[in-house]
């Protein structure tokens, strides 16, 4: 049963995947089912704590196993083009808000191919489009194939418009994507980013202003007719906290209910970057 399943799943793999007796994989599968929070970190901690368990071939744990990559220390019989997972070349995709860069390197970090939306001939605003990222991916894949690369693992950095379409471009260009990793830099309160961009509230459409007045978490109707000042917004927060205290009591004041569509962002300066 195992043989048939894995020969179906790993179409390109030559060897048969043997069921592993490792604790990390199984626990990772079970943890991933029960608690979706930070599955990877918890899995590693529990891998050290618990002893080796016998294999339990359930369908869901196998699917979870397939989602997680092979550990560098573990022995895994998964190979791509007779290369282990750690030896596959890496495609770095840096998806910024204005551009997308793609660089293919080998496992040690030696540079092989580099393309970006700008090197494809796009200029200025057209670089920050998914289509440009796709063309960059196609050309990068073509150049990498010329250097003899077939299987590649993708490392994505940043949340930009070209994040998914660059990977799509790589597959369209002919490279086989083995795994997708997200390497977006998350500082633990490191450097201070630039100041918040503020937009003039007059630019809010009339519809938006009307929608503001319908939910319980808004400034008063009087304020929406003119420029919404920050003072009224602070009042709305105080009313919020009061309302939360009221909710401790059995009766619920608001009739519109929790199903009403509150405005997408909390009432504050209309930050341009936050969608």
């Amino acid at each position: 049963m195992y043989l048939r399943l894995y020969s179906l799943i790993r179409g390109s793999c030559q060897q048969v995947f043997e069921p592993l007796n490792s604790s990390g994989r199984l626990i990772g599968g079970n943890v991933g089912l029960q608690r979706p929070l930070s599955s990877s970190a918890i899995r590693l901690q529990e891998a050290d704590a618990k002893p080796v368990e016998t294999k339990s071939p359930s369908a869901t744990s196998k699917r979870q196993k397939d989602l997680f990559p092979p550990f560098p220390g573990e022995e895994s019989s998964l190979t791509w083009d007779s290369k282990k997972f750690e030896e596959l070349p890496i495609a770095h995709v840096k998806a910024t808000y204005n551009n997308t860069h793609i660089q293919v390197t080998d496992c040690a970090g030696q540079y092989m191919v580099r393309t970006s939306c700008g090197s494809e001939g796009f200029k200025n605003v057209k670089k920050s489009t998914p289509i440009a990222a796709q063309t960059a991916g196609i050309s990068a894949a073509a150049k990498a194939r010329a250097k003899g690369v077939t299987y590649v693992r993708v490392l994505v950095k940043g949340l930009g418009p070209g994040r998914l379409s660059a990977i799509k471009g790589l597959t369209m260009g002919g490279l086989e994507v083995v795994s997708i990793t997200d390497n977006t830099p998350v500082p633990h309160n490191g450097c201070r980013p630039r100041k918040a961009r503020r937009m003039n509230c007059f630019s809010l459409s009339l519809q938006q202003q009307l929608s503001f007045s319908q939910s319980p978490f808004t400034p008063s109707v009087r304020a929406t007719t003119k420029h919404v000042s920050s003072a009224t917004k602070r009042d709305s927060y105080q009313r919020l906290t009061q309302m939360a205290e009221h909710l401790r009591c059995p009766r619920i004041a608001c009739a519109s209910g929790g199903g009403s569509d509150m405005e997408p962002e909390y009432p504050c300066w209309d930050f341009v970057g936050s969608d």
Partner: protein
């Protein structure tokens, strides 16, 4: 992470060449871990007073939503024990 757990954390394997499903799985994992929203928030600096306001707002909203959901689920219960059983 950049160098710790380099290809272990935040990684999803692609099955059957289905890149879209793998990317969707990755996005789901990241958003449940709260990474995507924290990255969006860190794009511009959020002053401490705004941060406190936002946290209290989210707290109140969470309380309100849970209470409302409780009320709705209670009101929409069709089958319940007969309180007058035996009378």
């Amino acid at each position: 992470m950049a160098n710790h757990l380099r290809f272990v954390a935040r990684t999803v394997m692609v099955q059957n060449g289905n890149v879209d499903a793998a990317y969707g799985a990755l996005s789901r994992v990241l958003s449940t871990d709260g990474i995507i929203e924290s990255v969006k928030r860190r794009r511009y600096y959020e002053k401490p007073c705004r941060k406190r306001e936002r946290k209290s707002y989210e707290n109140c909203k969470r309380i309100y939503n849970t209470e409302m959901a409780r009320k709705i689920s209670f009101v929409s219960k069709a089958q319940r024990q007969d309180p007058w059983l035996g009378c």
